[in-house]
Symmetry: D5
């Protein structure tokens, strides 16, 4: 049984050969492009309809489509990737994480920004000194709440 | 000599007692509030003028002002904090990092989003199902470039 | 400035000398006893009223009361404690975590049980073969949801 | 020889294709559903009768049935899984573990809650603000006891 | 507040200066010598009577006696000590652990030897080729049992 | 070339199917049962005579017999196994290791208990409150000695 | 699908058999030799033209050429290699890193030397006491800059 | 006794207050500036004459001068610093280390570049697209050589 | 392509079957026996002449001879092996390393003993209390030297 | 109570100020110089007579003499020191450890070289290409032996 992650790499290779960007594929499927890239690379289950549409667009074998649909285990081998493009995001959390935590507590109180009820956008923004990557993380605030469903 | 990080915790405690939010302090000093929180908590050198303004606003001892000005070592004891409010950001990078990497390569080519030429914004956005934390990371794209200044 | 965790150990020592169980203290303060133990040991900010009530009940110095009130950094030195009483809980997650994950996906869909909107109860239940520790974790289900507050 | 864990993933895939929930399967076999999910995913030896019943229900090959019966090595590659659904349980132990330890010592004395003589239940409980995952851990208290069988 | 472990090192130093072996001290107090050494070095709470007897025998300050009585956190800084005398025990578990696990399952079924309901003896046994250290670990077998106190 | 450890797992599977306990096999071969279990599971070279006797008793292929005879590399992937049955032994070393070290120094002087000149026994001892696992470790004391063979 | 790194090892083996040094290959392709060695060994995507030229020069199969072209994941299994030839470079960063950081801050201000806009040269320089390896790292200075493309 | 590293931080603070760059100090002392920065920050013993000259220039207490002279232990708490300015150098070794190793073997044979018989230079080089940090590492090649002084 | 380390294990197996000790093989090839064992087990490139002589002596396939000749990557999966025979050497470095460092600085000045220009001998020396392993490490002293080949 | 290791650093500083090499001190005390350096730096208990002789020679305070005599815990903070002078010894074990293990098994059978019944010598040996550090490790061979003192 091919793992969801290995399937993702193979599908990505097919995508490259077909010359289809995530943005184009996402528009065809009517889903956000950040979500699509994450899901194909093994981080979300893809609903059957979209998985089959992808299967057709990229001429995927059945077991690859099945892997897309499957519920993922989202635990990578290493919590922090040292790939430079990914590592920079962890470095940003290291440098700005304590400040963002303090701001959340300032403006919302004790709690967290949800990483589950959350969307992430990605854009290329032109700039005179070089174009910019603009990523927006938009997560629901969850206050620490001592709630019980069984009382 | 007090460390920049210990100084940051003491200053933050003073800030709490004075009842001043990061946003209010940042407006007084004319600096972005995410930057200010990060800098006070030990991640950036604070220019002398702002450090002294902070010193006055929060009645800080000289050695705390000196610590604000000092060049930081930005290496925390542990690369990934397990504090739930900070950990969620690392989890987001774990879940969406590979997809964002793929999108950067799709739309910009081989390279990274700079964590140095970068700004971070933080906002509270109202929402019917619960207000949201909205964080925007805005970094310059840096293409892998084999440049030499000595040829 | 005494850390919230060191303050917690000192307050716990005072509690021991005063011969007050968490259950008795919690009843006096009108809060759940699991929450109180966690909060005093450094994991939650204690509201000012309860912190001052604790200060009176245990004759705490002002800086200990201030530490109770302070917003915690919830990151311990080591993510997994090898203390046998605590380690058994991590072992349970190791042994039953994958099964519980599968059951959550079975009965709720893709998502998590919140560790923030969550209560924990603790009871001693008599049993013929030896009394039992009964702990109930009661957390809100959070479905993976791609929501944005800024569209 | 297929490992017990790989066998578990394959059986789970079959379960998914057959559209059978853990709860339904557990009722058919007359075993608790949390136990069944853990056992199939590699954490308990399944008695021969139940293993063969599972084999029939899911049309499993003999080597998968044999793997179900085999005594497990319960050591995963990584002690703490960073999969968000599982990680939240470890986070709960991190945040509430010290408090629960203190309560155990308060109400039982020096000792532990057994992770071996222990049952775990799982339920979905409706709630106005969103349904809740309710997990109850019910373990025998074991006092530190200096007993010898050879004196 | 002195930690239980630091207190243990100081008491051990006093013991050395007083020229009292663990065996002699243990006989005076009427407790097993392995238990006493472990308890004084920070691994068990010492009952008040014995703690005070120790306090008299070794002329300990009150805070050292209090530390003896206190409930320990049994989590050392490092799970495996590389001190050669201690490391050899971990090496024995590495080399013989899998075999002992298999023997336990052979002769008792699925379960563990308790490290809580357990005694440890220590003796010097003469031998022609050099005297031997003989350590006996005597722990209750605990079968995996799915017991609930709340049904 | 099959590894000694993989060979051990296959032989153990055969042993299970043949319904032969370690104790019975060890008696047939005239070797201690703890030694046999450890050796088959990859921790000792098995002398040719016994390896061939095992080969006959369990109908093993030649490459499995060869693997039994081979000199082992005794380094497992992870120094501490988190399998509950094995982990309890490491926990015992964590809790009682410092005390046993102190007793060795008390009664023998500076040195170690050998993990090489060492035997380990395993027995089931009946007890009114539940049968007990009794393991005796019997190792030669080795004093730190500054000996040279070349002076 | 062969990984980029495995492909790199195979291509390197072919290079060895063909007796072609990196310097000679790099001259033929008109690229810097440090870049070429890094790229072939899996650290950069090779442009199609050069990848095909390499394919012809070393008689590579199509899937090896495709691997050369593919976008790399630059995260090795282990962040620090203990191979002596590579480890010496990490040791140099350990010994001289803090000094170089201080010099960068002295002469450029707060910021970093880019590892992306960067070239590396490698030369053999004769010396009476033994020839020397001379490596020059030439990276753009990036000042910490709080720039936004979206204001 | 103040550690060599703590002394280095204090001396660096004095240097900052005196407004003296490493380059200026190094010229006064007649030593390379990279060496001086490394040595003061704890990585080399400073010869007595230069240590005393530094003591005068920065008005250092005797124990700081003594710390400069002392032989260092060059083992930092963490092998890889996550400070962004230092981390980039480790990332360069990660990305280019395997290629440089291959080039060393190509052009020198089996061996290493010495990190002991080695100098490091640091310069600011102007460039139209932004000035560049240029660091040259110049180390003696050491071939693997099976030499004995005692045959 | 078989790895150099896997090749080494296979060749060692052949050596065992042929009943040839390292000492005998080394004498035939005219190389030191410690060097030969290390080289075959994957730590040095074997010159073609010796590799082919080994190939004949042990009837090795061509790809094994090619692996012997190949330049090694000397980075094992784990820096410290817990195999008892190898671990004792690391323990010796742990116990005597700081003293040897201090002696090197005493008698040679600041620098290291080379692990590259180094030979290692191995002998069995008879002794009344049991024969001894005598290992001599003989490495060139390398003083920290700030040398440049480019000035 | 000063730790044995901190005491060692202070005594070493005194030794430096007194201008006494380990060799000279060792001759005065009539002990091997490698043993003396290791013992003073915290790795062995120093017999009272020698500790007092050292106390006189270096004018040590009583608590330093007491620390010399005390039984050590030989577990450093980090198993592998990255100090270059010490690290080279660990690298030698990494590169030659597997070969030495194989030679031990070849010439002695299954077992280890003792790190307890062991002496270490250190010498400076002149050589035309640069003087050499020659270290001889001379340890008793211990065969794996299944001996019991209690049968």
């Amino acid at each position: 049984m091919i793992s969801k992650q290995d399937a993702g790499e193979l599908i990505d290779e097919r995508r490259g050969r077909a010359g289809l960007s995530w943005r184009v594929l996402a528009e065809r499927l009517g889903v956000p492009h950040v979500w699509l890239a994450a899901a194909v690379l093994g981080m979300h289950p893809v609903p059957r309809a979209q998985a089959e549409a992808l299967g057709e667009a990229l001429e995927l074998e059945d077991e690859l489509v099945a892997a897309l649909i499957r519920q993922p285990n989202r635990a990578p081998a290493s919590e922090v990737s040292s790939d430079p493009t990914i590592y920079r995001f962890h470095e940003l959390v290291q440098v700005y994480g304590p400040g963002l935590k303090s701001l959340i507590h300032d403006e919302f109180g004790d709690g967290i920004m949800s990483a589950i009820n959350c969307s992430v956008s990605f854009d290329r923004v032109p700039h005179a000194d070089g174009d910019r990557v603009v990523i927006t993380i938009d997560g629901k605030f969850l206050p620490y709440a001592w709630v019980s469903g069984t009382d």
